[in-house]
């Protein structure tokens, strides 16, 4: 009886483990591969080595290519710009859409939803002309702005959802307590949706950090404006065999900030505020 119960209790874990396994193996291989001279299947062959990390000192593609630090800085710049802009603008727009009734609110919301579902690839050529006309082609700012644009519909909807869950009573209470609308937003509403903002910040940062399509399209080759993902692509070449060790090493390098960022925000993500407001709407 108890044995049977125990076996049943183990079933959910088994399902979880099996479903997570492919991802785990991927990361495992990434780690192994970047520190070993050669791998066969999942296992290292020969000695462990740090040789794949030589890209940290000098460009593996020779002169004329930006250093990894320059590329990292670019990526960081884009990701941070995206995080800040997306969170700030979405939080303001989401608040407005959730709380104020103004003409065009409904159509704005549905338009945003359509934009969110819109396949961004189809817009690339159009955006190219716009960027070139604005003189933003092949610039970090141009890439960042386009990325922000693509992320915004999602951000606005996410934030609106969080604002919708904040009770009107709390806002009314603050207005009666003597706060202005902006004070209500900043001092009362925003702090209560911190988890939502952290989630959005995390999404925005990761999508900026990992972006490949847009930086690839709107910057020239692996020039001074390259991001990490674009830089990684340089390892693929028609003339030389791909050095998978180096690819995984750069991949691992790219992974570090995301992991750190996640560690700092996961508390906020999980710790949704409880209590303080019951019933009512």
């Amino acid at each position: 009886m108890t044995l049977k119960k125990r076996i049943w209790a183990g079933v959910p874990y088994l399902i979880l483990v099996v479903s997570v396994l492919p991802m785990f193996i991927g990361y495992f291989w990434l780690l192994i591969s970047s520190f070993s001279t050669q791998t066969e299947g999942l296992l290292p062959v020969g000695n462990l080595t740090l040789e794949h990390f030589s890209f940290l000192r000098e460009s593996p593609f020779g002169r004329g290519y930006p250093s990894i630090w320059r590329v990292t800085f670019n990526t960081f710049l884009i990701a941070s710009f995206m995080t800040i802009t997306v969170v700030l603008v979405s939080a303001l727009a989401g608040y407005g859409l959730s709380r104020l009734s103004f003409p065009g609110r409904k159509s704005f919301l549905s338009l945003t939803l359509i934009l969110h579902a819109f396949p961004s690839v189809t817009l690339l050529i159009g955006i190219f002309f716009v960027l070139r006309a604005l003189g933003l082609y092949n610039t970090i700012l141009g890439v960042a702005l386009v990325m922000v644009g693509f992320e915004m519909p999602f951000g606005i909807w996410l934030m609106k959802g969080f604002f919708d869950n904040v009770s009107w009573d709390m806002e009314r209470a603050a207005l009666i307590d003597g706060a202005s609308r902006l004070q209500v937003w900043w001092q009362i509403i925003l702090p209560t949706i911190k988890p939502g903002m952290a989630a959005l910040a995390l999404f925005a940062f990761i999508s900026g950090w990992n972006a490949w399509l847009i930086p690839k399209t709107f910057t020239i080759g692996a020039g001074q404006q390259a991001t990490l993902s674009v830089y990684l692509q340089n390892f693929q070449s028609d003339t030389v065999a791909v050095d998978w060790g180096a690819v995984t090493a750069v991949g691992l390098f790219q992974l570090i900030p995301v992991a750190i960022f996640f560690i700092f925000t996961q508390d906020l993500l999980l710790n949704m505020y409880a209590g303080g407001s019951k019933g009512g709407a």
Binding site: S167, D169, M170, R172, A173, A174, L175, I176, D177, G178, A179, S180, Q183, I188, P191, T192, K194, Y273, A274, G275, G276, S277, K278, G279, G280, A281
Partner: protein
């Protein structure tokens, strides 16, 4: 603070939320807005608070029209059903928030917040977050936050609805005592007629956005001006049955099948000659009486001190309260005496009282 509402109306497109309400509240008075959910009482309250703008009509505080004044300029405190505490702030920060916004000196904030917290009996919880408080404690914090700025008008929006029955009882008397002590003009919105009866100086009965009555609890109870009021006030509710009047030997008889009651002249005179009218009589005005009218017991609900009896006379039901020691059972025949001195009569069509209009 004296409050006057003049033809106060709120419309959303074609939907009328509040329909031309007129009433005045004296300084220091405790007024209860009573009505079923969706009747417009909270809308009215939110207009007084400045959250909603009236469509037409005026709100006056001490004679000054405040229609266009923002909530923060109205010197009011409000307590919400959901408490509406700020979850990211401690109890102290919650209570002191209104003072902080007024840029009160820090030492004074501290002193006043502590004083209010002590009055509310939450002085020892100042460092807690709302999530770590019980419902009753949260309600006290909300009350403290409303009181700390020493408002001229206190607004309550069903503040006790989320508390358990026992706590509701004690908070009820506490709020009333506090209001009397501080003498702050108060408006209290509720759908609970017991709260209204026990707390109010005057009750405003609201239904479908209209003011049905505005009077003391005793008046509203004894002299319901509409059928709605008679139905809504009183627990268990008033019994209703359609009767027709006839005059026999100078005495007025109200009758329907199986039922014939002699009605005192002062009441009957106003209701006679109108054909079929709606008679209302409260459960406490029906007693088990050996000289009464025979009926059959249809159901018995033990309430502890009393039994609530559902008695049938032909096809009309009457609820009454009976002593449990009578040990009445379903199916028993029982004789009922009616205290017709307390009977009410309403016009069936207009649903207005024939006695008190």
């Amino acid at each position: 603070m004296k409050v006057e509402l003049e033809n106060l109306t709120k419309k959303w497109g074609d939907v009328i939320g509040v329909d031309s309400i007129n009433l005045d509240i004296q300084d220091g008075e405790f007024v209860v807005f009573l009505g079923p959910s969706g009747c417009g009482k909270t809308t009215t309250l939110l207009m007084v608070a400045g959250i909603y703008k009236p469509t037409t009509g005026a709100i006056r505080f001490d004679g000054r029209v405040v229609n266009q004044v923002a909530p923060k300029g109205r010197n009011i405190g409000m307590v919400f059903q959901s408490y509406a505490l700020y979850p990211h702030m401690t109890v102290y920060q919650n209570i002191s928030y209104p003072l902080k916004l007024k840029k009160t000196p820090k030492a004074e904030i501290q002193e006043r917040a502590q004083r209010v917290a002590d009055i509310m009996g939450i002085g020892h919880l100042m460092d807690r977050k709302p999530a770590n408080l019980s419902g009753g404690q949260q309600q006290r914090v909300a009350l403290g936050r409303a009181l700390v700025k020493e408002p001229g008008l206190l607004l309550f929006d069903e503040p006790l609805s989320n508390l358990d029955a026992r706590l509701r009882l004690s908070m009820r008397s506490e709020i009333k005592r506090l209001q009397v002590d501080l003498g702050i003009t108060s408006i209290y919105v509720t759908h609970d007629q017991v709260e209204a009866m026990t707390m109010a100086d005057r009750i405003a009965v609201i239904n479908d956005g209209q003011l049905h009555a505005y009077d003391t609890p005793a008046e509203v109870y004894d002299r319901p001006r509409t059928l709605f009021i008679a139905r809504f006030i009183g627990n268990p509710p008033m019994n209703f049955t359609e009767v027709e009047f006839s005059q026999i030997n100078g005495a007025y008889h109200a009758r329907r099948e199986g039922l014939e009651l002699v009605i005192p002249a002062d009441r009957a005179e106003k209701a006679v000659g109108k054909g079929s009218v709606m008679m209302g009589i409260r459960p406490e005005d029906i007693i088990v009486d050996s000289k009464g009218i025979p009926g059959e017991i249809h159901g018995v609900e033990p309430l502890g001190r009393d039994h609530l009896i559902d008695a049938k006379i032909r096809d009309s039901h009457f609820y009454l309260l009976a002593d449990p020691s009578l040990s009445l059972k379903s199916g028993d025949t029982v004789k009922l005496g009616f205290n017709t001195k307390k009977s009410q009569f309403f016009d069936i069509k207009s649903e207005r009282s024939l006695l008190w209009n």
